[in-house]
């Protein structure tokens, strides 16, 4: 596997707070990597650094061999954990608006994803439930045909049916030969069967970075149970 993302000694400080402390890691082509940890452990900051939205305080980060930024952004789809969708738009308006700002957009995929998610194009975003808005965010991310998807907390704060549909889409959209997915979550139990590898963050530091099946084998425990042990 080629090192798609290479991170060496990454530190990010906000004033005197250390959001990420001396992180080194590598992500190969075609992996699904779970970035795990409780709130405030640095998951979002890590994804934002890779997406080129947050600048490292120190350390070296390359994505597709480049420094994160404009060139890299064309090659990745980043889904923020925030509820950022414009509420006054209809789904159709939102899709048209969002697609204008992004490369490699496939309307055919948008169509298929919205259908799978049971989202009507004519609905106003303001009238969608949280779960439906969560589905819509994922649909927008996977409407882009890019080799790297960064999904920040796609399962948080939404209903069980929506979580289940989102996990189904992750498996359906993933292509081991040409897509890599980084997925942050604190809902480990539901997502863990998807991971090739799990990276645990604690107070901004990386404490575990290992193949998911190796972890289960070595600890005789699910990744969820390891999570509970570490953060409990």
């Amino acid at each position: 596997m080629k090192g798609l993302i290479e991170i060496d000694g990454l530190t990010k400080r906000y004033g005197r707070t250390i959001a990420l402390g001396n992180i080194s890691m590598e992500v190969g082509e075609g992996e699904i990597v779970g970035i795990l940890g409780p709130n405030g452990s640095g998951k979002s900051t890590l994804l934002k650094v890779i997406a080129g939205l947050v600048r490292p305080s120190s350390g070296r980060v390359t994505v597709f061999g480049m420094k994160p930024g404009h060139g890299v952004r064309k090659l990745l789809a980043y889904m923020s954990e925030n509820d950022y969708l414009y509420r006054w738009m209809t789904v159709k308006e939102l899709v048209e608006w969002t697609s204008k700002f992004h490369d490699n957009w496939s309307m055919d995929k948008t169509q298929a994803l919205l259908e799978f998610f049971d989202i009507d194009w004519g609905l106003k975003v303001a009238n969608l439930s949280r779960g439906m808005r969560g589905r819509l965010k994922v649909a927008l991310a996977f409407s882009r045909e890019v080799p790297l998807y960064l999904l920040d907390e796609p399962l948080s704060g939404i209903d069980a049916a929506s979580r289940s549909k989102i996990l189904d889409i992750l498996i359906r959209e993933y292509r081991p030969e040409n897509s890599t997915i980084l997925l942050s979550t604190h809902l480990v139990m539901e997502a863990e069967s998807l991971f090739d590898r799990a990276i645990f963050l604690k107070n901004g530091e990386k404490i575990i970075d290992e193949a998911a099946e190796n972890l289960r084998d070595r600890y005789g425990a699910s990744i969820n149970n390891i999570f509970i042990q570490i953060y409990g």
Partner: protein, 127 residues
């Protein structure tokens, strides 16, 4: 193809091992017959909602054990080797009984206690 899918995995154990067991069990129960085609890696990954790489690993191990084989361009198939399937059945049955005996011995039963009960059950006409 009828492959009975079980609720969830026991995620405290490697998932690829459980996929292997699931397929072997389907063969032993006759739900998968010699020469039957297995679902593609993608199909099974979507069905079970697991990483396709995990399914791939299970398929590789099954092939290495001679339980399945690949036809180029057509996919994976259950072995047509009757002896191999017999061996699978034997191993499966043995494992089942060993597992049962282990549980029995944990409740303080000897193998003779077990045999005694089995004979009683047989006399009562339970098969």
């Amino acid at each position: 193809m009828t492959l009975i899918l079980h609720d969830r995995f026991d995620e405290n154990r490697p998932i690829y091992l459980q996929i292997m067991e699931m397929i072997k069990k389907a063969i032993v129960r006759g739900e998968l017959k010699p020469g039957d085609r297995l679902p593609s890696v993608r199909e099974l990954a979507v069905m079970l909602r697991v990483n396709p790489n995990t399914v791939q690993r299970a398929y590789q191990e099954l092939e290495r054990e001679g339980v399945t084989f690949t036809r180029r361009g057509q996919g994976k198939f259950v072995t047509e080797d009757v002896e191999a399937i017999d061996a699978l059945k034997k191993a499966f049955r043995r494992e089942l009984v060993e597992h049962f005996l282990k549980e029995a011995s944990e409740t303080g039963m000897s193998i003779d206690d077990v045999i005694k009960i089995l004979e009683e059950l047989k006399d009562e006409g339970i098969n």
